[in-house]
Symmetry: C2
């Protein structure tokens, strides 16, 4: 025969109190006489009672779980964000349902719908490009949403990012000041406004500030992979570029190895600035100069913001911009 599950009713009976009282002690409600509380706790312990969170969720309309939509956990960039999210979630007694989307529009929609069906109290979204459709879903549902490392062009939902434009501008200026005239912009998909709008603007402004002309031939759109970076060597070399700002570390390490495997000296013959200061930037030889984004913190702050939203607290500004730094290592002079 099946092991019978212990319910709040069993505890109430054994402790000779009402369910309401048991519920109160379980939930730490102060309106319980210490003696009663003690008695109830004793029974709970004796029966090994574990409150059923699903029943609680149905009754209270709160699940204490949040949905996290991530392109790919096995990507170091997003994994760092995810870790920050989970740590803060745990801190506030939430759990996260983690769902990979591969950045695919349809998967994002599907997964969002199943998360909402599961009554998550909030959603953290990471993705490259917010489609109209998903933004529609966001605004249609009353579940709070926060973007982590992703941008909503018109700030309907909360978001946490760095100032991509300023960071890129600073990096480009540095390369220009090191004497480079031909600076490549090695980027991920330009449909992502982080690349196609903010970073690209920063790149152009940086050039302009140093009196350099913008030239489309120096824009290299690519996947965010090591292999793509390796493969880029040939094209970049042919373009005549002598330095590059790269938006992703895997990509940058690929480019670095592509250059070095072909006898190009870094930083002597070619300088590189990359973007996330991940472990890759430490491992590479030379180590890569990089824009340091506080990835963990972006996740952590996004989750913290979400707790406030879920709590219906007043928010000063739902659009958070975290600081970045330019960390100089060995791939620049």
């Amino acid at each position: 025969m099946e092991k019978q599950t212990i319910t709040i009713y069993d505890v109430a009976r054994e402790a000779a109190v009402s369910m309401a009282t048991v519920s109160r002690v379980v939930n730490g409600n102060p309106n319980v006489k210490p003696a009663t509380r003690k008695k109830v706790l004793e029974v709970i312990d004796r029966l090994d009672y574990r409150p059923n969170a699903v029943a609680r969720g149905l009754a209270s309309k709160k699940t204490t779980t949040v949905g996290v939509i991530i392109p790919d956990v096995s990507n170091a960039f997003f994994a760092s964000l995810a870790r920050g999210i989970d740590d803060v979630a745990t801190m506030y007694k939430y759990n996260i349902i983690l769902a990979n989307s591969d950045g695919d529009d349809q998967k994002e929609i599907n997964v969002l719908n199943t998360l909402l069906a599961k009554q998550v109290d909030g959603v953290i979204f990471m993705g490259h490009h917010l489609t109209e459709e998903i933004r529609g879903e966001f605004s249609r549902s009353k579940t709070p949403v926060v973007l982590a490392g992703s941008i909503d062009p018109d700030n309907q939902v909360g978001s946490v990012n760095i100032d991509y434009k300023a960071a890129t501008k600073e990096a480009v200026i540095k390369l220009a000041e090191n004497g480079h005239q031909n600076i490549a912009f090695v980027t991920g998909p330009l449909v992502d406004p982080i690349n196609g709008v903010y970073r690209l603007e920063g790149y152009k402004e940086g050039l302009k500030e140093k009196g350099l002309a913008y030239n489309e031939g120096f824009i290299f759109e690519s996947e965010y992979t090591y292999k793509a970076g390796l493969a880029l060597y040939e094209r970049i070399k042919n373009s005549g570029a002598t330095a590059a700002f790269v938006v992703d570390d895997e990509l940058a390490v690929g480019l670095l190895n592509g250059l070095q495997d072909n006898g190009v000296k870094v930083p002597d013959d070619f300088e590189i600035i990359t973007s996330n200061s991940s472990l890759f930037t430490e491992i590479a030889r030379p180590r890569l100069t990089s824009v340091s984004q506080p990835l963990y913190d972006i996740g952590a702050v996004a989750m913290r913001l979400l707790t406030k939203l879920m709590n219906k607290e007043e928010i000063e500004d739902k659009t958070v911009v975290l600081p970045y730094r330019l960390t100089e290592k060995g791939s620049t002079k």
Copy 2:
């Protein structure tokens, strides 16, 4: 005023059928007249009805979510497993609650309990060392558990791994055959039976097979971090070792860089075989020869096994051993 949530009851009323019928069409039960089904679907569409998974979970005692306990998502090794898990979970209509434990015994227990409270249908556990306490919790609850990349000494729960002993033995033999007499075993915590029992045995057997003596001075226990690897250089050099088998890629790259930064040529003066064939082994120069563990597959197979357990299917063998390969790259001759 609040937007009223649409329930199954609303749909039933509008469609002039019973809740039971609506439930049947939502769940694809064939016992519904096509005309009725059509009518109901129409209303569902019109009202934009979304079934509440929490209510469903309470009524059906199934949540279609599984708990995943992971030491650290931002570790590339575990992230790969997690990705495999999620992909298969999605395939079988499950979601995963992902919880980081840092390999901390107490956190593991806590998180397991909250997962069980949330009525997950199953649990996938990744961790270095199964404490008695957590094994007790596993056997006490009737929720199925599968270990991914972790070993249960007495196979109470399901698990998916590679043959660590054979892999290590093979690697050590290869190093011995390349002429090395002093082969270091660079390992993570030996309390983890994967290291302290299986790999260590493989190491010893490999030495024995090649007529080499075992010497404790060649065992280096370390954290799984790049920094720890870098720091190991000095000790390993002083030990007189001229080759190393390393159980973790980050650690191995650290050691590699430590050696090379100090002028030791790899593989000419020192050979290295590492263990996970992660991207790090590609990025390093020279690229690292490695035991290739199918990380994604370990996760995927673990999740697949869990679906069978949750489904109460008969399992031939709950202890799955996946194949590994020794992939030769540049850090061996």
